[in-house]
Symmetry: C2
Subunit: 425 residues, 2 copies
């Protein structure tokens, strides 16, 4: 059998070399058009392959599942069918799109029916998220934030290298790329004031993250190991964990971030499967001290994903303000999920687990304005001559990510969000 | 019109004076029997009134809704129909159960069809919980915990009296009363050790809480005031926020409780509506400093609910180890929900918002073992001669709650859970 990741594969659909969506990727998402209600599609080049249509034409009849799951407004039901089904569907889609396959390419009417231009489609939240956790797994980010919020001596707290620190976030306010975000209001207290005030946040920030979506349940009370964890991961998305630093500073003790985060988080619409990312596995940073046995994860558990953040002032061009790589994360996704389940907490289909801000070692690789401007003390200079300490109204934040190896680029597309002024209630 | 809360109402069903479920209560829940799949019922005395059956017999035909929403395994669809519908259904049920009404009581076959003994039914999770928040709104509890985890000088952090501190919890592991809980495993570090270890928690605790369930959405970006907030609350349940203190101590900095809580929380099965609690409104404690205008909530915003915790060792009698009252909470539910939405975070139907541990001023009114035994230093003596620092395997924790005024008792029933040994994976 030809593997769906084979770098020698080509599609009968012409795909630009800089596209994030070659035949080796085939991410899943939910799209609609004026004529098609929300349904499951696969990105290929500039197109979306409508899996609903393919199901209706019996292109999946050799796979043991009901292709009506493609006619749903979220991926959850499809994901819940299990890895053998996702994998078989992706392999079958790969086969149908290969340049030597004529099942679709030989039928011009069918091509018109099953291919939709991405530019003519609306993308939706890929999953309904029953539970959302945000980790804090970049050593550089945790050190930077700890230095600013506390002091350099106690920047990294004693537990940090023993377990992947995380907290539960708000699932209701996770939105798909393109959804505008209203600047949050909140209670803040200036260092030189005795009492707090309430109003629009003055320190609105983004956090560059990668999140994984689970595709398999665990029963309450049971745990999984890091070695088992990858079997529970369906795929990955880019994640902007919008943060209000002034609200966070005042509210976060002793129970952690709450309203500083829960006003919105944004995800990219295409879920890149772990299968598609397989060629881009790399070893993570060495972990000293060695994790306890239940968190031990030898082998290549990190993924080499180039990440960048662009900032676009209104009516101006976007410019890159950060670029880093997901491979630097101290704690791997496998360790994060094993940790989440280690107390018996049950994993559900569609859960979203975000990495925490991905920051590299150098300043240009920091994944938040907090770090890039060192809490506003070193404003960013933008090409239009303006400067930023934090995010201003009408700014758009864009995050992109892709892997590249042997001439093959497997990408995530982007997650973008424009900030609108706070709503005056 | 006769009000459903009228203390002079009596039902044609005989109800013991000590029952939590007189005709003035009429809480909603989800039940099943060997012959009836999960569906909506109302508790009345020792019985459950099957609303599915009443809907089929057109007893709700004057109310503008589809009574098929009673044939669902959770209350969410019913709740989503809005307060006018919940209220009209409760009023109609009250009418049908009154001792002067013969629509049901005059038809012995119908009585057999629509009444089920609670002892013969299985109760289920009343709602599917899309989002769960845990507040920290008892002044006494926050002071006690702060004293133990930090020190008496900084027990109450500077933000505590300015906003209802809270954090997001894990929704997946919320279970209904009666579901056994496995002791969680986790990473802990003894004060006299340099490195952490992994194993079953040695400091398993309960937290006595009351939680409210929302019945109305807000759009993302918008906020509600405390005065509007009560319109969004469907009803209340008892809530046991199981906690592993040794895991919590090690993990909770800087992002708050995570695995110390996410292994399980238990709720009572009957949702007591805010309408049924109306006669038990009282003024809350005076708030000094005065909250900022967006959290201001004059009037009677607290509820006078007697609460107690019983501990039952295996094969022994249960004994009361704590009794307190919900009316002492510093921050009201209305303020909690207004705070949650103040940054634009959207509220969803079925969300669960827990109060935080309800502790009174005296030791016997403390709502957790942590406080009752002062972190294990003053073990509880039980009637069977044994003592407890924390919860042992096979112990059952039972929480009860009720209001009482003018001879009318409106109660919650109970939330109970037995602790089983940790699962060895």
């Amino acid at each position: 059998m030809i593997r769906a990741n084979d770098p020698h594969l080509h599609s009968w659909i012409e795909i630009a070399p800089e596209s994030d969506f070659p035949i080796q990727n085939l991410p899943f998402g939910i799209f609609s058009t004026p004529d098609r209600d929300p349904r499951v599609g696969v990105a290929i080049g500039e197109y979306i392959l409508d899996l609903c249509v393919l199901g209706r034409h019996n292109f999946f009849e050799l796979i043991d599942f009901d292709p009506n799951v493609f006619h749903r407004p979220v991926l959850n039901d499809f994901i819940a069918m299990g890895k053998p089904v996702w994998r078989a569907v992706r392999n079958r889609v790969s086969e149908l799109l290969r340049n030597n396959n004529e099942e679709i390419s030989g039928d011009s009417e069918l091509i018109r029916e099953c291919l939709v231009l991405q530019s003519e489609a609306t993308m939706h939240m890929p999953v309904k998220v029953p539970n959302y956790t945000d980790f804090y797994s970049s050593l550089e980010h945790a050190t930077n934030v700890g230095t600013m919020f506390r002091d350099p001596e106690t920047a990294l707290l004693p537990n940090w290298k023993h377990l992947p620190v995380g907290y539960h976030g708000r699932a209701s306010s996770i939105v798909v790329s393109g959804t505008p975000i209203h600047r949050p209001k909140g209670q803040t207290k200036a260092a030189d004031q005795d009492t707090p005030t309430f109003g629009p946040s003055q320190q609105l920030d983004f956090e560059l993250e990668v999140a994984f979506i689970t595709g398999k349940e665990t029963p309450l009370g049971q745990s999984i190991t890091p070695y088992e964890a990858e079997e529970y991961i369906f795929g990955l998305v880019l994640f902007n964990d919008w943060s209000a630093r002034d609200i966070q500073t005042w509210e976060y003790v002793p129970l952690g971030p709450f309203l500083a985060k829960s006003f919105a988080s944004s995800v990219s619409p295409w879920v890149v499967t772990l299968d598609a990312l397989e060629p881009f596995r790399v070893k993570g940073p060495e972990q000293i001290p060695k994790p306890l046995p239940n968190l031990e994860a030898l082998g290549n558990r990190n993924y080499d994903i180039h990440l960048e953040v662009l900032l676009q002032p209104q009516h101006k061009a976007a410019s890159t303000i950060s670029h880093t790589n997901f491979k630097h994360m101290y704690w791997s996704m496998a360790q994060q999920l094993a940790h989440q389940s280690s107390n018996g907490c049950n994993i559900m289909v569609g859960d979203l687990y975000a990495s925490g801000t991905v920051s590299g070692a150098r300043q240009e690789a920091y994944g938040s304005m907090l770090e890039l401007t060192w809490r506003g003390t070193q404003p960013l200079q933008l090409p239009d001559g303006s400067e930023r300490q934090f995010i201003q109204d009408y700014d758009t934040v864009i995050m992109r990510g892709h892997c590249e190896l042997n001439g093959i680029r497997v990408g995530f597309g982007e997650v973008r969000g424009q900030v609108l002024p706070a709503i005056q209630h």
